[in-house]
């Protein structure tokens, strides 16, 4: 049983340990870690633009984290967030570009997002069906589905949807785009942070309520914690396996709101850039709790953009080391706490 204190202390302790570890590595490259961390802070939270960049990254990371967290609660490990996000982003871009330009935003935005979620959900559902019908482990199938998604979107883009001599699709109609916070309120000057952050926060809140305050969440968590007992308790676990996978895929697909509707306004080759994988780290650090995923996404968003901002001094790869080290240390601490 998780103690209240360790729920907060363990993540903080692992973040701290990982930072110390990376300070050591930065020192090895001949740079002063204090200076580097100082510059990182200056380039992120100390500036409106930097803060906006962190928020922009956090927006997709929250959803990518939830995409892992929801199936995790049903004892399913969805490693396919990346593929589901790709499928979602592609579906959103293509749908958004096909809509009539006269369609008003209250219709075009939901339609586009529905296409994104449906594409992500179906892609994840494949893994769910494979598990139930043919007992294919979902870790393996979702990894493989990542490759397939990569190939399918690549093929469709290159041969059918890319604008001539580019690697991107046609832009979505204007009404389907989501405005930046900078354009709306003048916040986070000229950063890509857009109002889809509200979608992400809303999704986290909604998932928290669904998991911990609804009957569906009660059944889903019971199936994850003690599958045998769930069977005795008359819970239809197959429904929850499929539901959790589809829900996770839909959440990953929803990431298109930020990347496509809020930022690029089209689908572009390699635009997801591994965010789906960082989502696994977010979910692990949050212990699959939706609200904690917001904080975890903030931390990883900071590392991603902060790392980029000091790229001139230390290689960005160092920050990938921090991300991975945090997770490994966190899991090790968690395991060490068990009797």
């Amino acid at each position: 049983m998780e103690k209240k204190s360790s729920a907060i202390v363990t993540p903080l302790l692992s973040i701290l340990s990982a930072l110390l570890f990376s300070a050591f590595i930065i020192a090895l490259t001949g740079r002063d870690p204090v200076m580097i961390f100082g510059k990182m802070t200056a380039a992120t939270f100390a500036s409106p633009y930097g803060s906006g960049q962190v928020i922009f990254r956090m927006t997709t990371l929250i959803l990518a984290g939830l995409a892992v967290a929801l199936p995790f609660q049903a004892r399913l490990f969805n490693v396919g967030g990346e593929g589901q996000l790709q499928m979602g982003a592609f579906a959103a871009a293509v749908t958004g570009a096909m809509l009539s330009p006269d369609l008003p935003a209250p219709l075009s935005v939901p339609l586009t997002l529905f296409a994104a979620m449906a594409a992500g959900a179906l892609w994840a559902l494949l893994a769910g069906v494979l598990k139930m019908r043919y007992a294919v482990n979902e870790v393996i199938s979702t990894i493989m589905l990542n490759f397939i998604a990569q190939a399918i979107t690549g093929y469709l883009l290159t041969y059918h949807f890319a604008l001539p001599s580019t690697v991107r699709t046609a832009p979505v109609i204007a009404s389907a785009t989501l405005p930046t916070l900078s354009a709306l309120f003048g916040w986070f000057k000229s950063s890509p942070a857009n109002i889809s952050i509200l979608i992400s926060l809303g999704a986290a809140l909604l998932l928290q309520v669904m998991l911990y305050h609804s009957r569906a969440g009660y059944e889903l968590r019971a199936s994850g914690l003690q599958p045998d007992a769930a069977r005795y308790g008359g819970i239809n676990q197959e429904r929850h396996t499929l539901g959790a996978m589809a829900g996770g895929g839909a959440l990953a697909g929803l990431g298109a709101a930020n990347l496509v509707l809020g930022y690029r306004h089209c689908y572009e080759a390699s635009m997801t850039g591994g965010i789906g994988f960082t989502g696994i780290a977010v979910a692990l650090l949050a212990r699959a709790r939706p609200l904690r995923a917001i904080l975890a996404a903030l931390f990883f968003g900071f590392l991603e953009y902060g790392g980029l901002s000091v790229n001139a001094y230390v290689p960005k790869d160092i920050f990938m080391i921090i991300e991975a080290a945090t997770i490994i240390i966190f899991i090790a601490y968690g395991a060490g706490a068990k009797p």
Binding site: M1, M210, H213, S214, R215, A216, Y218, E219, R221, A222, L225, Q226, D228, A229, R231, Y232, G233, G234, I235, N236
Partner: protein, 521 residues
């Protein structure tokens, strides 16, 4: 080699006041036992009696919390099985530790190659040695055969040869006949006799009494972590052993007023249950239970009780063939899901509480509605009605005397076993409109105080008119609560005591227990 073999008649293993605790649970309490060199010593007891724990202590997997272990007169302290193996102790686990893809010889020498890591193995020499051992003990086997292609009986021979290869003198067998055919069992016994004749000390763990009486020199009985007795096999009978295994010395003082049964609620007609492994665990079982009576099923574990319960709750393993009929007030129960069966008015307390009846991590209130969460009285919008849950929890916690601090937040795992079981009982006995109540081991691992509460509630439920099926390995519980008693043996009701018989014989409990003992062995 000779130093490893104790003289026949000398003590090979001596346990002195061994206690093993897991948290607050005592798996072994204060066990003192001598196992004589060259003898076949059987350790019998029900599942969970602590036999395996004790064996694992001898084999160095567990370290005792208290007490001493002596091997051949020398005090030892094992940190791992490696220490035990070095002293010539070997174990054959119930589930064999073999690698199916490797050959017999490769399996036997694994971890004992007697060669440097990259040294060349002299297979012909090893094969020769295995053949010699096999011949000496009548264990015909081909060293180059692939283990995965061998029958269970032959795989067991590989395990025994493994012990011989390591020059083991004290051999521990955990439920060695569980997976063997009768023919294989016979052969295995003759091997055991040869081993014993050549001075090997054998500790046999089992709950099959026929076999124990056929093969063992000495028998020790364990119950609830304690040793209830050690005796020469020649001086004891099967019913006596059965009673030592399943009886309980606690005085049960539940007031059981005469029953006045109504109409038939549950009617089982020629129920048979064949597992995917083609084992018939329930055979032509027929019984009926009327409203307002408790039908107790007495028997040693593993005689079809679990399969019967699974079949009644709609949870039989895939590929199981069930024949016969199970009718609840004339309506068939077969082919329905647990949820549908519950909706018919059936309530069920499963035998394995932690695996099947609760979610340890969930708070008490959420466990109090687990399996009943479909009931609309607990619902509010998409979630649960906190006030209704709180009221319900408050009522049953007081009524069943469940000791807890904060039911809404406290996880179930923080309760003692007795309080957990009271919670499950409370949940299942307060379902609305129960027609049939199925209780499996309702007081297993429960303290005396909780047993009294649970027994009182069961009698109350009977007086309210529920039909109750009680399955318990505690004979005195069956005797104290039942209106009628069916004795189950190898999947059949072998004998049934009528209501009059039961009420009358209950008055002289010891004789009744003895009589039941005869019918379940």
């Amino acid at each position: 080699m000779s130093t490893k073999h104790p003289a026949r008649g000398a003590t090979a293993v001596r346990l002195s006041a061994i206690t093993k605790k897991f948290g607050s649970f005592e798996a072994n309490s204060n066990i003192s036992l001598d196992i004589m060199g060259g003898s076949i010593h059987a350790l019998v007891g029900e599942n969970g009696a602590g036999k395996s724990t004790l064996t694992k202590i001898i084999y160095g997997i567990y370290r005792p919390t208290e007490g001493d272990l002596e091997i051949r007169g020398k005090r030892v302290r094992f940190d791992s099985p490696r220490d035990a193996i070095r002293l010539g102790i070997g174990m054959v686990h119930q589930h064999f530790m073999l690698i199916p893809e490797l050959s017999v010889a490769e399996n036997i020498m694994l971890g004992h190659e007697e060669r440097p890591l990259f040294g060349r193995l002299n297979m012909s020499q090893i094969n020769e040695r295995i053949r010699r051992d096999a011949e000496a003990y009548g264990l015909g086997i081909e060293p180059e055969a692939t283990v995965g292609n061998l029958s269970v009986g032959l795989q067991q021979r590989v395990e025994i040869l493994k012990l011989l290869f390591r020059d083991t003198s004290i051999m521990l067998f955990d439920e060695p006949t569980a997976l063997l055919t009768p023919q294989e069992t016979e052969e295995f016994f003759s091997t055991l006799r040869k081993l014993s004749r050549k001075g090997k000390t054998i500790l046999l763990i089992t709950h099959k009494l026929d076999e124990v009486l056929a093969i063992a020199d000495t028998i020790s009985v364990m119950r609830k972590g304690a040793l209830t007795g050690t005796m020469a096999a020649a001086t004891v009978t099967k019913p006596e052993l059965a009673r030592m295994m399943v009886g309980r010395s606690v005085l049960l003082r539940v007031n059981n007023p005469p029953a006045n049964p109504g109409e038939i609620v549950l009617d089982l007609r020629n129920l048979s249950y064949r597992t995917p492994g083609n084992e018939e665990s329930v055979r032509n079982l027929s019984l009926n239970i009327r409203a307002g009576e408790i039908y107790g099923i007495a028997g040693v574990e593993g005689n079809g009780q679990s399969e019967l319960l699974q079949a009644l709750w709609g949870l039989s393993a895939a590929g199981t063939i069930i024949r016969g009929e199970a009718l609840l007030q004339g309506e068939p129960m077969r082919g329905k899901s647990p949820r549908e069966i519950a909706a018919m008015g059936v309530s069920f307390v499963p035998e394995d509480r932690l695996r099947h009846a609760v979610i340890r991590e969930f708070p008490l209130t959420e466990n109090l509605i687990f399996g009943r969460h479909h009931e609309s009285a607990f619902h509010r919008r998409i979630g649960f009605d906190g006030a209704a849950l709180g009221n319900f929890a408050g009522r049953v916690i007081a009524d069943y005397d469940i000791k807890c601090d904060n039911p809404a937040t406290q996880p179930l795992s923080s309760l003692s076993g007795g309080n957990q079981q009271k919670l499950v009982t409370a949940r299942e006995l307060t379902r609305p409109a129960i027609k049939l109540l199925i209780l499996a081991q309702p007081t297993r691992g429960v303290d005396i105080g909780s047993i009294e509460t649970i027994h009182r509630k069961i009698i109350e439920a009977r007086l309210e008119g529920m039909a109750i099926l009680l399955v318990s390995s505690e004979l005195d519980e069956i005797v104290a609560l039942s209106t009628r008693i069916g004795c189950i043996y190898r999947g059949e009701i072998r004998h049934e005591f009528s209501r009059d018989e039961t009420e009358q014989k209950r008055l002289s409990e010891q004789d009744f227990l003895k009589e039941i003992g005869l019918h379940i062995t």
